[in-house]
Structure formats: C-alpha cells, structure tokens
C-alpha cells in the first residue's frame, strides 16, 4: 500500500468514499475515468487490492474498473 492521508488507497476493501480531488494524475487517465463516470463528487468503493502492489479494483455506480495503486494514491476521497 502506498501511504496517504485521505486517498483511495487508504480505504479498506469494501469501504467507499466520495472523490474530492484528483491530484497530479495523467490527464489521459483523468479523461478515461471521467468517461466511466468517475469524477469529482462521484461515490467510489474499493473492492479489492491485488497482491504485490498490483492494481486496485474499484466500483463506481455499478461499473467495476481497475487502476494502478500509484494513481489511486493521487485521488483524494472523503469518507462520510
């Protein structure tokens, strides 16, 4: 796990949060996420993490997707 204060990777699998800010992530990745409806304000759930630092599996509005942990660490979430 990449340590962070309030980012996606700090959520335990099964927990969700609302995205408040995309940090310094690749603009193309940001577009791709927006295409899938993952944007500021979206509610996102961490499903599971892969072994050996592999991608993290997320769910957003019924859509399952996977992104790398180092990018997930740049996405800030707030847990309500």
């Amino acid at each position: 796990m990449i340590p962070c204060q309030s980012c996606l990777t700090s959520l335990q699998p099964g927990n969700s949060g609302s995205i408040c800010r995309f940090g310094n992530i690749d603009p193309i990745l940001k577009r791709r996420l927006a295409d899938l409806g993952v944007a500021e304000g979206s509610n996102i759930t961490v499903k599971r993490c892969c072994l050996w630092g592999g991608p993290i599996l997320l769910e957003c509005d019924g859509q399952l997707l996977g992104i790398r942990q180092k990018e997930a660490a740049k996405i800030e979430v707030s847990v309500s």
Binding site: R32, K47, G54, P55, L65, R68
Partner: protein
Amino acid sequence: MSGAALIGNPNTGKTSLFNTLTSSYEYVGNWSGVTVEKKIGQLKDKSGPLTDLPGIYSLHPLSRDEGVAAEYLVTDSPSLLINIVDASQLERNLYLTIQLLEYGKPVIIGLNMIDVAKARGLAIDTAYLSERLHTEIVPLIARTGVGSKELLSCMNKTEEKDLSPCFTIHYGAVIEEAILGISREVNSELTFSGLSPRWIALQILEDNPAVMNSLALTEATLSRIRAIKEDALKQLRMKEDTSSLQDYIRSVRTEIIQDICASAVDQSNRKPHTLTEKIDTFAAHPVWGIPIFLAFMLLTFELTFDWLGNPLSDLLDAFISGPLSTLVEQGLTAVGASGFTHALIIDGIIGGVGGVLVFMPQIFIMFLIISFIEDSGYMARITVMMDKLMEMVGLNGKALIPFIIGFGCNVPAVMASRSIEQPKERTLTMLLVPLMSCSARLPVYALFAGIFFANSQALIVLSLYVMGIVLTLVLAKLFSLFLFKDSKSFFMVELPPYRMPQTVTLFRSTWEKGKGFLRKAGTFILGGSVLIWLLTYLGPGGIAAEMDDSFLASIGGLFAALLEPLGFGTWQSGAALVTGFMAKEVVVSTMNIIYHVPDMAGLQEQISLAFTPLQAYSFMAFVLLYTPCLATVGVLRKETASWKWTLFSVGYSLVLAYTVAVIIYQGGKWIGLT
C-alpha cells in the same frame, strides 16, 4: 451519404447487433476494444449499408481504435446514427449520446441489455427518455436478437419522416458566443462539408484532435479560432471555477444527464452484481488469482493435447491416410492419371495438406477455449492480475489481450493492440506478439512432441508456450530500456460483469477463427505443398532421381551448415524452415513431403531416425521464435506504419531463435542430454 452507422460505448453489444442486422459473423467478446476497425455490411432487408464502429466513450479519441470512430463522423458523414446504449450504465452512456445528438443527423437510440438492467433491478422509463432527448428509442437484447426487427423498421421510417434531432443544450452566454464565432470562421472556409457548424464549433472548443485534423483548416483561421477560445476561457473564469473549456462543457452536459437520469431511471430496487462478485472472489483473488489462471492454462493444454485433441487427431489421421487416400488412389488409377499427377496428388497434396489438417482437432479445441475466455469476461481480470508484472517490464496489463489472442493467431493479435493508449506500449506489444505461440505452430509441436515426448506431451508443449512468454518479458524489458525514451504509463481497465457465453456464439467464434486455418490449408498450405513437391521432384539436372539431388535439397543445403550448431544441420530442416515462412504449418507439410510417407506413423518413424529428442526440442524452440509468418509481417507493416519496426521484428526474432536454439542444444549436450 454512407448509410447508417452503429456507434456507442465500448462493450455495449454493437457488433452483436451488427451481426444480427446484417447476417455477418464479426468478432464479438466481453471486454472493451474487441472491434478495432470499421466494418461495413448490407442490412438484411437490403435497405442499405450499415457500418460498425469501434466503441468510444466520447468523440474525443484517446487510442487508435477510438480515432477510427471519430474520424468516420467527420469524413464519411453517415445519414443515420444508431446509438447503442447500455441500459445498465445509462448515465455514462448518455454522454456520447449528447455529442451525437449535437452532430445534427438523425439518431435512433438502441437501448441494449435491458435484460441485464432488469436483473440489476433498474427500471427505465423509455417514453420519458425519448421525450427528453427528442429521439426514437428501441429496447434491445442484442445477444439474443430481441428488438432487432423493431429497430430495422424504425430505421426505415426515418426516410419518411424527418428525425433530425432538435435537442440542444444551452451552454451559457460565454460558450454560446464562442460557438457563434467559431461557426462563422468554419463556415467561411468549409462551405460544403454537410456537417453541423454548431457541432464542429463544440468539438473545436473541446480540443478534439481527430475533428480538427480531419477538417484541415488554414493557419489563419486556426489562429483566429485560438483567439476566440482564449477569450472565452478568460471570460468564463471570471464567473466560474473551471480549469478549461473542455471541463466546463463536460460539466454542463453531465448536469443535464444527471437530471434526465434522475427521472428516467428507477433505482429503488437496485441489486449488486451478485454472480460477478462471487466469481471475482476466486478469479480476482489477491493471492489465488494468478495460480488459478495458471491452473486454467494447464487445463487448456491437457484438453488440447492429452485428453481430447490427440485421440481425435489420431482418428482423423486414420481416415485421411486410410479410406481417403485409398479412394483417391483408386480414382486416379481409374481415370488413368500419369505417374506425375499421381505423385503430385498423393505425395504432394494429400501428404502436405492432409498432414497439417490432421491437427485440426487440437487447433479447434484451443480456439474454443480462447473464445470462452473472450466471451466470459475473464479477459479483463487477467489484465488486472498481470498488470504489475507487465509494468515492471515496461508493458501494460492491457497487452495481455493481444497476447492471449495471439495464442490463436498473431494477425488479429497485432490488430488488437490498437486499444492500448500509449504509443510506446502499443508498439512494444505489437513487436512482441509474434513470440506468442500461435495455433499454426501447434502442428509442429504436436508432431515432434508426439514422437519424442509421448508421455508428457502437454507439459513439453506448455514449456514452449512458457518459453515464449518468458522471452517476451525479458525482451520487453530490454527494448523499453534501450529503444524507447518515453516512459509515461498508466493502466485503466473496465471489468465487465461476467456472463455465461452462449453455446451458439461460442461455436460461431470458434468456427470463425478455425475457418482461417482451413482457408490457409486451401491456399498457402496447398500452394506451398505443390511448390515444395515440385522442388523435390525437379533438380538442376531435370527430374531428380534421388530427392538429395533436387532443388529443395540445394535450397535447404544452403542453410544446413548454418543450422549445424543448433542440432539440425540437414537440408531437410533447412528447407522446412525456409518454406515455413509462408505459414508455419508448412514446416509440417514440407516434412511430410520430404520424408515421403503415407501416414503419421510412417512420418514419426522417419523423424525419429533423423532427430534426437534434444535436437527435436531445439527445433521446436527455433520454430516458435524464428520470424513472424508472412501474414503477420504484412499486418505489422500496416499497423506500425513503419518498415523499420517490421524489419526489426523479423531481425530480432531470427537472432533470438538462433541464440536460444544454440543454448538449448549445446547446453543440453554439455549436461549430457541426447
């Protein structure tokens, strides 16, 4: 006018619908990016052509396959758009719908996967949706063909009544003014484009490179447009908190979509993906996911060879070398064919083509399993599990999709690389696809492993596949260190819900892949066999008395000395490898013709005299690695658009094959193997 076009998000069932509407059998699967180029077919009722496009999320393309769809809209100007929308993911699908409605041509919405939406407890008010979007909506289940008749009749109605969309979004005073300004600039330059100026203006405001490039505006106009954009952004920033025009336009659209969905979709009975969750507990397990995948691969090989493939192959061989050959011989004798014709047909064609066709069962079983992986939704999970490993060597988890397809055939695998976003990772993937052991190499393994490693055939063959994969990883690391500068990379993959592949679809995909093999048997392998037989029949001194005096022997002989350190320095091996460039199955055809035997048992005996097990393994490794076949070289040239990379691919694989075979043979001898 180029008729109607199917357009929509990836993996929403466009190609399934296309196949139903046009009675075609295009490639379908359960992951994003199956279709990578546009396909044109004729509608069943002969009312016109239909174009199938790669899936896109928005008109702004990020990868090569998406560019195809966006450019199509600008350059081909279809008369009707059929927007396929995934009912279970309405909100995200409507983003593209809005851009299509702005395009200005009639739009019909095909609301697909209503069964999936229902199973998830989503109820969609189509009447309301249709009213808000001012367009026709046809509910569909593309996999089973439900709704395709209604869609066809709806398409025919568009000619009678005007269905041009009257859906417009008001983007606010600043953007509207910029739209007017840009429309004016564009109109003054492009008078006959037939495209909606408002749509063009919006695409320009969104910085859509595909649209801008296809329009080919002059530098003077472009600079005036840039000024309008800068001015608009400045004004917008005074009122709103936004970083770019693109983001602002997106936020306006998203707000409207959310408003529409809030009333159109009833989510009160919403259920989670129960089945998918359950399967993923095992299949995408953090620890067990990879071992399960490897166990699945081992099972594949056991099925393909030991359990099912070989027994079936033996039956087929018995038929071809027995009843079929006898029948043809009798027929030839009855019509009084000359000795030449007789030998050409029996030794050349039946020996060469039949010798490859006997491996049809193994190839079809492999294709069946690959089709199952493609159609079930497992493919995307494999990319996730393997991404870390791929990242370490400079590739992307998405490269696994071309690699797995490559086990079937390298040609569509090279094409499948289009869905990888980063150019570096895409080129690297294409260069390495030929190391995936395709089904054409399977007859060679089946033949040799059957002779020398009869007790552990599946394991020996698996070891060759693994060798290909390990070398791919090593070379990926080397190439990305020394050949590519750009190291930017990210990975994002959609995981579609699992679904049980339909038997019909599964057999159809298997047949479509297998047809390629049979077609090759009727063209390259047949032609190659005749040519090879003639080369064995003729020699520098006319008709060769002994095969050792034939042309083929002299061609193969050129390479014999070179192949000596690899353990198979005979003209026979040299000749088989040279002809194998046409298609790798031809290696087996050539062996059949050279060793001049009526059936598999005879060939096995001949080969077991000519090779030792160590030499045989070295030979199989060489066949695995040496040069992509002719068809793959062709598609590499087309997809990389560079002779340099194409020749590099041929060059590195030859060097690699030689090195590996030397190591296997010399190393094996050194540790005392034979």
